[in-house]
């Protein structure tokens, strides 16, 4: 397979993720979109690594750096999702909804001047 197909795939995923972040109104859906962005980066890392492997020299870690980075990103995404979901539960308990578009108590146009 050509490298460029993988890069196009990850670019499409990244664009969908950014579009989702900008248009979605539910906190969970925004988190999904962020996961799409992170996974598009992972596809890039693994694809580039397979392509570059023949040219890179150095230790084993250097040769598989893209894969190592992808693993680390997966672990960090899991940690981020764990903290994020806990925050969303706290949000639901306080506001009885998780539609972030409806939550604007801190907005600047406050009447208590």
């Amino acid at each position: 397979m050509e490298l460029e197909w993988f890069v196009y795939l990850s670019l499409i995923l990244f664009s969908i993720g950014i579009l989702g972040v900008l248009t979605q109104k539910t906190a969970i859906r925004i988190l999904f979109s962020v996961e799409l962005i992170l996974n598009s980066a992972n596809i890039n890392f693994v694809a580039f690594n397979s392509y570059l492997q023949s040219t890179t020299s150095g230790t084993v870690i250097d040769q598989y750096m893209g894969w190592v980075f992808a693993m680390v990103v997966i672990a960090l995404a899991a940690a981020e999702a764990a903290v994020g979901l806990a925050i969303f539960i706290s949000l639901y308990r306080n506001f009885r909804e998780i539609v972030v578009a409806n939550i604007y108590e801190l907005a600047e146009s406050e009447e208590d001047e």
Binding site: V7, S10, F14, G17, V21, A27, I30, L31, V34, I37, L38, S40, A41, N42, N44, F45, A47, F48, Y51, L52, T55, T56, M65, G66, V68, F69, V72, V73, L76, A79, E80, V83, G84, A86, I87, F88, S90, L91, R93, N94, F95, V100, I103, E105, L106, A107, E108, D112, E113
Partner: protein, 488 residues
């Protein structure tokens, strides 16, 4: 694989922090009431942070060879930024003792604080994009939990959701940028990235990393979360965000742009210049029309992030000039000076705001009226901090702003002069709102609600103010060349 003793010693500050994490969690279990819990947790946390500072200072004569820890570099950059982050966190834990007073659960918050600090140390020690990114996330993820720490508070939860979503998006953008840079160069160590030539794919990656970093540094146009988070979060958490974690994020930006993308300055330099100009104008302009002090502090911290980022502009513009290395040294030196001065003056201001917010339950500017008449110590230190933020000589803010101005003007390019011009205008606008707040503090009190007693915090504010006043002495002992020659 056996653990190398050199690696063990090199990471001793991080290990000390994690030992402290376990100790404070135990302290939560064994203490009987909230007061003794606070005493225990604050003493354990500050002792751990002090120990970590000592261990960081001692790693000077221990530079591991390339084969043991190829991804890390324990030089003076690591020492300066680790010590800055750790000592700012000591200030934060003292102010937190006045913020989380209801339950005996300060230990969990303090443990998150120390984990976040470990992330800051990893950022400062990195010599490779992998540990740099891991350290960045290790610093950022605990912060989301720390902001949402008051579970029942609607404001804190809303602030935390905003911070979390924007932080997650920015880290996603950064990691996609890193993947493009990896694809373009096949390398991720700073030294290899610095040698690589510019090419389209790498440039796109650099832009994505720049935008993601601007979120974290709260630079315009990625700043809109700042004011909401600062109003909604607990005040001591604001202290952490503005004083400690943002300085670690600057360490990340310096590692990224000054050290690894050092030969791509013509790519990120102009964009950074634009971002800095916008940050200074928008930050100062919006701060001038605020009625709530935390919002004023939020916008003024956007402006000050812009001031610190001027050093990046100066660094980029210095490329190719005959006295390039001198100018670059001056830029980084000015940035470090302003970071330290900013910790001193903003730390004092937010600690004073914490005392007022605890006494009045909110942060409207009217509540600050007559603070000086009610409590001479708090009033004097806050007014001095405000004057230092304006940049009145001989206070610390003046010295650091002077060096930033010199650093950017000496490069003598169009963008540099534009930035310096906006810097001067922004400082002039800032006089208006800082003096407005100072006048309110020095005015006759409009009510007779007393301030809460907070002797240790007041002592800390006095210490910070003394350091602010005598800050300029530091300039006589450390020159730009001292910092720079051992850095790269």
């Amino acid at each position: 694989m056996a653990v190398d003793p050199v690696a063990f010693t090199a990471f001793s500050p991080v290990l000390a922090l994690f030992a402290g994490v376990i100790l404070v969690l135990i302290a939560d279990l064994v203490t009987k009431d909230a007061a003794s819990n606070r005493k225990f947790v604050v003493s354990i946390t500050s002792a751990t942070l002090l120990l970590a500072i000592l261990l960081v200072a001692k790693t000077n004569d221990l530079i591991p060879s390339e084969t043991v820890l190829p991804m890390f570099k324990f030089g003076i950059f690591y020492q300066i930024f680790s010590i800055i982050g750790l000592s700012a966190s000591i200030l934060v834990i003292f102010s937190a003792a006045y913020d989380f007073t209801v339950q005996k659960d300060l230990g969990v918050w303090a443990s998150l604080l120390m984990i976040s600090n470990a992330g800051g140390i990893v950022i400062a020690a990195s010599n490779h994009l992998l540990p740099l990114y891991v350290g960045f996330e290790l610093m950022a993820i605990p912060i989301y939990g720390m902001v949402a720490y008051r579970k029942r508070s609607r404001e804190a939860t809303e602030a935390s959701v905003k911070l979390f979503l924007l932080g997650a998006i920015s880290s996603g953008i950064i990691v996609y940028g890193i993947s493009l840079v990896y694809g373009a160069t096949g390398q991720l160590t700073f030294a290899a990235l610095a040698l690589n030539n510019s090419q389209p794919l790498k440039n796109v990656g650099i832009f994505l990393i720049l935008f993601g970093t601007s979120f974290k540094l709260s630079l315009v146009p990625f700043h809109w979360w700042v004011s909401d988070v600062y109003v909604g979060a607990p005040v001591s958490m604001v202290n952490y965000l503005a004083v400690a974690s943002k300085k670690m994020a600057f360490a990340f930006a310096f590692q990224m742009f000054m050290i690894s993308f050092v030969n791509d300055t013509d790519v990120w330099g102009p964009v950074m210049g634009l971002i800095v100009i916008l940050s200074i104008l928008v930050g100062n302009g919006m701060a001038a029309i605020q009625n709530r002090v935390m919002r004023l502090i939020a916008y003024s911290s956007i402006a000050h992030a812009g001031y610190i980022a001027i050093s990046l502009v100066a660094y980029a513009q210095a490329t190719g000039l005959p006295n390039e290395s001198e100018l670059k040294a001056l830029a980084l030196y000015a940035a470090i000076l302003h970071i330290v001065a900013n910790i001193l003056m903003k730390g004092t201001l937010i600690a004073g705001a914490l005392i007022v917010v605890n006494s009045f339950e909110n942060d409207h500017m009217e509540n600050f009226r007559g603070i000086y008449k009610k409590d001479k110590v708090v009033g004097t230190t806050m007014v001095l901090a405000l004057f230092s933020l304006i940049g009145i000589p001989p206070l610390g803010g003046f010295v650091s702003k002077y060096f930033l101005f010199i650093a950017v003007v000496n490069t003598n390019t169009t963008l540099a002069w534009a930035t310096a011009f906006v810097f001067a205008i922004g400082s002039a606008i800032s006089v208006y709102y800082y003096v407005k707040l100072a006048r309110v503090i020095l005015d006759e009190p409009s009510n007779d609600i007393p301030l809460v007693p907070a002797t240790p915090l007041k002592a800390l504010m006095v210490l910070l103010t003394v350091l602010t006043v005598f800050f300029s002495v530091i300039v006589f002992f450390i020159t730009p060349q001292d910092v720079f020659s051992t850095l790269f």
